[in-house]
């Protein structure tokens, strides 16, 4: 028997669960600026998440998918992706979307059941959230194909969950990315749960990163609660893609600290102990501890920043709550570039019904 192929999957981390250094830091992390910047963004994401859940509980916003536990992933991607790169996100990347320019109020309007949350010009060519699981992986490879055809040095970055790796779309995307050496990065936010289905039931492989092997692309695991490891891994993958060397799958090990969405109750299917243990590994506190230990952040700064963040968020929420309803004719006016004649009558009826006295006037 000949060995015709060998592969290894590596796991990288820099910060221990308790926020101490595990190995020599990369150069950029030996200075405070970048790390403090990451920390600030992560605090913002976390506080915003709390706020949105409060809005949901008080009926001011719809079903919401919390980002709790994925702050490091979003923050690093938001920092390292270039403006001209294209993000093809899933429904847990709103912190990342904001870092790429989407105003908070408009982001909130998406969760408020309003398509304008996808339409801000600030989103440039980024995709809106993908709700049908894993479909975005293929859109990202399509975007990357366009880059490759036009010989542009841009990268498509797509994010999905651990559950998504079981769906054909994800694997078909990896496969074509490998066959065509596309400039695309697949980030798997492995938060250990797909609603109630644990990672162990999702897939029999030891790592999800090894799904890259069957497609002939780079694959690696990284501590997704560790901004430093995330930064290194994403940076390398972007460089690789930008140089025309092809795709990377990064499995970022994290934990879904929240319920799946506000419509879910995770106590039904997972133990408190597991959740508690996960809180001991969470990304924000970990980085805070490290910054404290380096003398790069203190209580005063913390309080000041938390206050500032509150105000930023309040502004965003105010903006959201003050948005006038969108014109109902939007229901038809963006379906086609030009409304087909055959639909004119239905459009008229929609408008008529919504007027005072109409059947849909509320």
């Amino acid at each position: 028997m000949d060995t015709v192929y060998t592969a290894e999957i590596h796991y990288s981390s820099y910060l221990s669960e308790s926020g101490t250094a595990l190995q020599k830091m990369p150069q950029w992390a030996e200075k405070p600026e970048q790390l403090v910047h990451y920390y600030r963004n992560m605090v913002l994401a976390r506080q915003l998440d709390n706020k949105i859940i409060a809005l949901q509980r008080t009926g001011q916003i719809g079903t919401y998918a919390s980002l709790l536990g994925s702050e490091a992933i979003d923050t690093v991607l938001g920092e390292l992706m270039l403006k001209e790169d294209v993000l093809v996100p899933y429904y847990r990347n709103h912190a990342l979307q904001m870092l790429r320019g989407l105003p908070m109020g408009e982001m909130l309007s998406y969760w408020g059941g309003d398509e304008r949350g996808n339409s801000s010009p600030a989103m440039a060519e980024d995709f809106p959230n993908a709700v049908p699981i894993a479909t975005q992986a293929l859109h990202a490879t399509g975007v990357a194909t366009a880059f490759k055809i036009r010989s542009e040095k841009r990268v498509a970055v797509t994010v999905c969950g651990d559950g998504a790796t079981s769906k054909g779309d994800f694997m078909e995307a990896l496969n074509v990315a490998g066959a065509w050496q596309l400039p695309v990065i697949f980030i798997v936010n492995n938060n250990q749960w797909a609603i109630s289905v644990p990672r162990s039931i999702q897939c029999g492989a030891a790592t999800l990163a090894q799904k890259a092997i069957g497609a002939g692309i780079r694959g690696e695991q990284v501590d997704g609660n560790d901004v430093i490891a995330m930064h290194e891994s994403v940076n390398e993958a972007l460089k690789h893609a930008r140089e025309g060397k092809g795709a990377t799958l990064i499995e970022a090990i994290s934990y879904r600290l929240s319920d799946h969405t506000t419509a879910d109750d995770a106590t039904r299917y997972r133990s408190n102990d597991e959740l508690k243990a996960a809180w001991d590994r969470e990304p924000v506190k970990r980085l805070q501890t490290y910054l404290h230990s380096q003398g790069w952040w203190d209580e005063v700064q913390e309080t000041a920043w938390q206050n500032e963040v509150s105000q930023i968020i309040q502004k965003g929420v105010d903006h959201y709550l003050a948005m006038p309803p969108q014109p109902i004719e939007n229901l038809f006016d963006y379906l086609y570039a030009e409304l087909p004649e055959a639909l004119q009558e239905q459009r008229d009826k929609l408008i008529r019904n919504a007027q005072p006295g109409g059947s849909h006037h509320e």
Binding site: G62, P132, S166, I195, C203, R268, P325, L343, A354, H360
Partner: protein, 327 residues
């Protein structure tokens, strides 16, 4: 003695009943096990019947359908859940190309007694892709039954029938009324007939034809019209493929007028088949054109605007009124 239960509880009760009485019934899907399904349709079944009969699958709808075909070919009766109708499309190659054809292709050597359960429709302020009504895509497929209950009792009896049916059934559950209007349902194991329309109200002035959550709006409209002395016959189509046109034609022969109500977009939906058949086979009995009250031919909007999209009882009343005025 029978308790008042909701439709979702009736679904659960039917599953439980059939699993108890038939070892070959196996449940599979995303989150159907420990979690009991995102709508709780399968709650308690894992505890009662064990992990070999209630299977939490990896997240892959194509796989859920394909696996069910394979299981069914072995004489199991898989009852698979697709979490929302918006996620059913990856199952289509297997439902159309295999489930609906296995018996035909093998001249009866292999069969496919599977059920694909799926909640559908809008009105619960759900996220995008959680509110579609795409029954028309399946109703067009020869060999595939499409069944939609509209009350707890019918959900119980029809689901039993679907599971016992030796051929594949798409069982669509109108989730907007999952928890509305509890009613007594006896756990008597009695299946209701498939391939039959159900006449929910008899009437003489006009026939209202509908299914799913729109039955609620239709009945409300009928109630209000009654106050104006308009007598509506209300027909719940229930099985959208194959359709029991005879019941509808007989009703329209009596009333001479018909309004069809569904939530799906209008064009090329099941309402078109019913309207066409009435006019083709009952032209001479029609005293007014058939009308359809339906969703618009547009994308189901995000929840802020969903009420503008969905037909309601006021729309039905308006159309009934103009149909009655026609002469």
């Amino acid at each position: 003695m029978s308790n008042s239960i909701t439709m979702i509880e009736a679904v659960n009760l039917a599953l439980q009943h059939e699993m108890q009485h038939d070892d070959s019934v196996v449940i599979l899907g995303e989150d159907v096990g420990t979690n009991g399904g995102v709508f709780r349709a399968t709650v308690g079944l894992r505890e009662q019947f064990g992990i070999k009969r209630v299977l939490d699958t990896p997240l892959a709808e194509t796989m859920i359908a394909g696996l069910s075909v394979g299981m069914a070919s072995q004489g199991l009766k898989p009852v698979a859940e697709i979490q929302f109708m918006g996620f059913i499309f990856p199952t289509m190659e297997h439902m159309i190309g295999h489930a609906a054809r296995l018996r035909h292709r093998t001249r009866g050597r292999l069969t496919c007694p599977m059920v694909l359960r799926v909640p559908f429709g809008g009105g619960i302020h759900a996220p995008e892709h959680h509110s579609e009504s795409t029954e028309a895509l399946f109703a067009h497929i020869p060999g595939l039954r499409v069944v939609i209950p509209s009350s707890p009792a019918r959900a119980y009896g029809l689901l039993l029938a679907a599971i016992r049916n030796p051929d594949p059934v798409l069982f669509m559950e109108p989730k907007r009324i999952y928890r509305l209007n509890a009613q007594p349902v006896e756990d008597n194991g009695k299946a209701l007939p498939l391939d039959r329309c159900y006449t929910l109200r008899e009437g003489s002035d006009i026939t209202l034809v509908s299914w799913g959550a729109m039955i609620k709006e239709t009945l409300e409209a009928a109630d209000q019209l009654k106050k104006r002395d308009i007598s509506c016959e209300v027909i719940d189509v229930v099985t959208l493929n194959p359709i029991d046109h005879q019941t509808i034609l007989a009703s329209v022969a009596k009333t001479g007028r018909c309004v069809i109500i569904h939530e799906a977009p209008k064009s090329c939906a099941v309402g078109a088949e019913i309207s066409a058949t009435i006019a083709e086979q009952g032209l001479l009995s029609l005293q007014a054109p058939v009308s359809r009250v339906t969703g618009y031919d547009t994308v189901m909007p995000y929840y802020r605007m969903e009420n503008h999209y969905m037909p309601n009882s006021a729309d039905i009343i308006e159309t009934v009124t103009s149909t009655l005025e026609f002469s």
